[in-house]
């Protein structure tokens, strides 16, 4: 009422006041944004100041962090530095307040006990409202009885909602300071108008209520041992508008990870793991600059703490490595020559041709040795598929996705420039670097073709070995190309997976299983998603008669056999994964196949297989018995009826399941089985024992005769 009266009485003056207030808010807002952007530390300082207004601030805050420090000294230290900075500001603000508002002195002293911690604030709404009520009772609305409390709650809530828009919430300090100043001036101009001042103070108090409620939250968090690391909704909104304080976000990431690692103990009541994960995801995305899809992918792939390590590893470059071209030079000579040019290097232990460059005074891509083709700049991870491929002199080898030629030239070097190497790449732009590298390194046995990889084996087939370094989303090489962080989506993954599946089938078809020395296919990607790696390998296992071999590289993490809802063939464990944070090389995936026969499974047979694999779990023993009986019959008869044919694979797999046959068979055992199989098919399919049978085998002889395409050399 006082305000209204004042406005009515001094219309122009009040307009001037409001205008002044508005300008002040605006200036403070800009100031704060600028600070937040310019220097995170100062931003955090101002943020600290904002939250500590009205409280004693620095001292209790230090106390609070000291409590934390017993647990996490490093974190506490960082917090202290954050909090100590705002000291002065807080003190200044406090002075102003105490001058202007008599009532507030009580208020401040009351609050002095309350520790505050800027990192720890969450929405505890109940507390928030209770606190605000208490203060109202203390300072202004002493007339209210306890029974009014209940009535006051909703009104406070309304005030929160209505009076303060999002922006005002963000600029609490600004608004407070402004209001305090305004109050001062009013005092000076019209000393007798006390009602008005009281009103103003009431507004102040309400705002202070909020800060104090935040502090109250902080306090409660201290009690629950700092496990409330999730920020409030307000805070999130604030970050959206003001920009984030990266230090703060990083701290929060650490805290959430700590909480998640010890979830049952540290969690806050009512917060599910999902809440924490969502927050963590958003924070990681903010801090490292990824889109949320990629963060989700990584969070599914790694434990949370490992995920953080991985993301941090992506911020630093991998060591520069070169590969000696053994066609032209020896590693020792090269190391000496480069050492003479002021290059600090060291041999890679696991590779006979690799060198790691630690420090160089000359451009490593422009030394006379480089131009003479004595080495090529190549990441350590891309040695791996070639090591797995084990090219032999005199073979025919296909490199399906060859550019820019690092792996191709390595293959050629291992072949000692004999035999034939076909290097293919679809991209015409990348052709130049491929051809240039091949010529510079003195590779003479190569045919370079610019075709879609899927043109093979139509163009050429019957290779001894094939290397597929499939195009991929590139999640392993984020350190090299930061654009990946934001540009990739599920759609990109799907597109790549599609391409990869086609390529690997074509690669397998291009290889001749009867090759005396080879029959090897190596599949590699520089990506990390399971869809692109294990998924594709499993797809190949289902669709072609291939088995997985050990890659021949000693280190590396074994591939997933189970990932979320996916269940892959157990032998997928033989494939290898490489991560930036564990192996200090680009993220990579290598799988090595051995082709067993040239048969291709038809869609129909495969569908059946898949179907009954799904159904397996629901089958009864009884059914199995019945069917195994019928299988016997079928085995004896040489019938060609579709019905029986379709039933066969199902039964056998069921039987196999019942027998609990070990699924990973050694290569030799497999070949034996195939031979057995063939004999059996020749003997007009006499009874199949059904034991120790790889689930795909039984269908082959039959289909072989009827509908399967056989690739011929």
């Amino acid at each position: 009422m006082g305000v209204l009266k004042f406005i009515r009485d001094n219309y122009y003056i009040s307009i001037f006041y409001f205008f002044f207030i508005f300008i002040y808010i605006f200036i403070m807002g800009i100031d704060k944004k600028f600070l937040a952007k310019k220097a995170p530390s100062t931003a955090s300082a101002s943020a600290g100041a904002r939250k500590l207004v009205g409280s004693a601030g620095a001292k209790p805050a230090a106390k609070a962090t000291a409590v934390v420090a017993t647990k996490k000294p490093v974190i506490a230290a960082s917090k202290k530095s954050n909090i100590e900075q705002p000291k002065k500001k807080v003190a200044v603000v406090q002075q102003e307040e105490s001058e202007s508002e008599e009532d507030d002195e009580e208020f401040v002293s009351a609050e002095e006990d309350i520790p505050s911690d800027e990192e720890d604030e969450t929405t505890e709404k109940n507390q928030l409202f209770e606190d605000s009520d208490d203060e109202k009772l203390n300072s202004n609305t002493k007339a209210f009885s306890d029974s009014n409390k209940g009535w006051l709650k909703p009104s406070k809530r309304d005030k929160d909602g209505d009076d303060e828009s999002e922006e005002e919430e963000e600029k609490l300090t600004a608004f407070e300071k402004k209001s305090i100043n305004a109050a001062k001036k009013r005092k000076q101009i019209e000393e007798d108008n006390t009602i008005d001042i009281q009103n103003q103070m009431a507004i102040d108090r309400e705002q202070r209520d909020e800060t104090s409620s935040e502090q109250e939250e902080d306090e409660s968090e201290e009690e629950s041992d700092e496990d409330n690391v999730l920020p409030s909704g307000e805070k999130i909104e604030e970050e959206q508008v003001l920009g984030v304080d990266l230090q703060e976000v990083y701290q929060r990431i650490k805290d959430i990870i700590n909480t998640l690692d010890n979830f049952s103990k540290e969690r806050k009541k009512g917060m599910s793991r999902e809440d924490y994960m969502t927050r963590l995801r958003d924070d990681l995305a903010t801090y490292f600059g990824y889109n949320t899809f990629l963060i989700e992918v990584f969070l599914k792939l790694f434990r949370v703490s490992e995920c953080l390590e991985f993301l941090e590893a992506n911020e630093t470059q991998r060591p520069l490595t070169i590969r000696t071209n053994t066609l032209k030079a020896r590693r020792k000579d090269l190391a000496d020559a480069l050492g003479g040019r002021g290059v600090h290097l060291e041999p890679i232990k696991w590779s006979p041709v690799g060198l790691t460059i630690y420090d160089t005074q000359v451009a490593i891509g422009a030394t006379p040795e480089y131009l003479a083709g004595h080495y090529i700049q190549q990441s350590a991870s891309s040695f791996l598929p070639v090591v797995a491929l084990e090219p032999q002199p005199g073979e025919r080898i296909l490199d399906l996705c060859a550019s820019p030629g690092g792996k191709t030239t390595y293959v050629a070097a291992l072949m000692k420039n004999t035999g034939t190497l076909v290097a293919n790449d679809i991209n015409e732009e990348r052709m130049r670097s491929l051809v240039a590298n091949i010529h510079r390194l003195g590779v003479k046995n190569t045919i370079v073709s610019n075709l879609d990889g899927r043109e093979y084996p139509k163009t050429m087939g019957g290779f001894d070995r094939c290397l597929v370094d499939a195009p991929c989303v590139g999640l392993g090489v984020i350190a090299k190309d930061q654009q990946i962080k934001l540009s990739k989506s599920q759609r990109d993954v799907d597109l790549c997976v599609n391409m990869q599946k086609e390529l690997i089938l074509h690669a397998i078809d291009s290889v001749d299983a009867k090759s005396p020395t080879g029959g090897i296919i190596v599949y590699s990607t520089c990506s990390l998603t399971v869809e692109e790696n294990e998924g594709v390998v499993d797809y190949a296992l289902r669709n072609r008669d291939v088995i997985l071999l050990d890659t021949g590289v000693e280190f590396g993490v074994q591939g997933f056999t189970a990932y979320r809802h996916h269940r892959f063939h157990p032998s997928v464990a033989l494939t290898k994964r490489y991560y930036p944070h564990t192996h200090n090389m680009d993220g990579f995936y290598v799988a090595k196949f051995k082709k067993i026969s040239n048969e291709i499974k038809t869609k129909k047979a495969q569908e059946q297989e898949n179907d009954q694999e799904d159904e397996q779990d629901y089958e009864d023993d009884e059914e199995e018995e019945v069917e195994s009986g019928s299988e016997d019959q079928e085995g004896e008869s040489t019938s060609s009826s579709n019905e029986l044919e379709e039933l066969t694979p199902q039964k056998i797999v069921k039987k196999q399941k019942r027998d609990n046959t070990p699924k990973i068979n050694s290569h030799e055992a497999k070949i034996k089985k195939i031979q057995q199989e063939k004999q059996q098919s020749l003997q007009q399919k006499t009874k199949t024992s059904g034991k120790n049978k790889y689930n795909k085998k039984p269908t082959q002889p039959k289909n072989n005769n009827k509908k399967k395409v056989v690739t011929k050399k």
Partner: protein
């Protein structure tokens, strides 16, 4: 991909003989593996026959390279040797020039070789003779044409040009876009 016509063969071999002389016969009739020259998109490739046969199944438009590229025919029918053939030239070269380490980089940037930068030269090198240049530790770094014979070189002052630049390995970097 096709064989060289008679005209082309003549032009090409003339050029090659400037550098390797009679050793060209060693290139054509190799004892280890039968090799041949083939033209693909105006470029001449030197490749062993087995690889060549396999390359026949690749569509002509998509065939980017096979074996080693020796150079290309210009529109006017002349032949231009490219740096990619350096390995073979170095292997069969009749006349060689060794370059001092301090002049090496200058040569790699495409400059002519001065007397000061010449470390060694084959005896009896005539003037205007194709020579292959080596660094002092026997790494081939390009080829060019002599301006003076060995005898004359001895009398020259250090700033005089000795070898005119034709190709150097620096072209792998400088001309990657046009070379391939």
């Amino acid at each position: 991909m096709r064989k060289l016509t008679e005209e082309e063969t003549k032009v090409f071999f003339e050029k090659l003989i400037k550098f390797i002389g009679r050793n060209i016969s060693l290139l054509i009739e190799r004892k280890d593996e039968a090799h041949c020259f083939r033209v693909q998109k105006n470029k001449v490739y030197y490749v062993n026959e087995e690889t060549m046969k396999k390359a026949q199944s690749v569509p002509r438009d998509s065939l980017q390279s096979l074996g080693t590229c020796f150079g290309k025919f210009t529109k006017t029918g002349k032949f231009k040797l490219q740096i990619t053939c350096l390995d073979y030239l170095a292997q069969y070269a009749k006349y060689k020039v060794w370059v001092k380490p301090q002049s090496e980089m200058s040569w790699l940037y495409g400059n002519n070789l001065l007397k000061a930068g010449m470390g060694r030269i084959t005896e009896d090198t005539p003037a205007n003779q194709g020579v292959v240049l080596f660094s002092m530790n026997d790494v081939p770094i390009g080829f060019g044409t002599t301006s003076k014979s060995t005898q004359d070189c001895r009398k020259l002052d250090p700033t005089a040009m000795v070898v005119y630049h034709i190709c150097d390995v620096g072209e792998y970097l400088r001309d990657e876009d046009t070379l391939f």
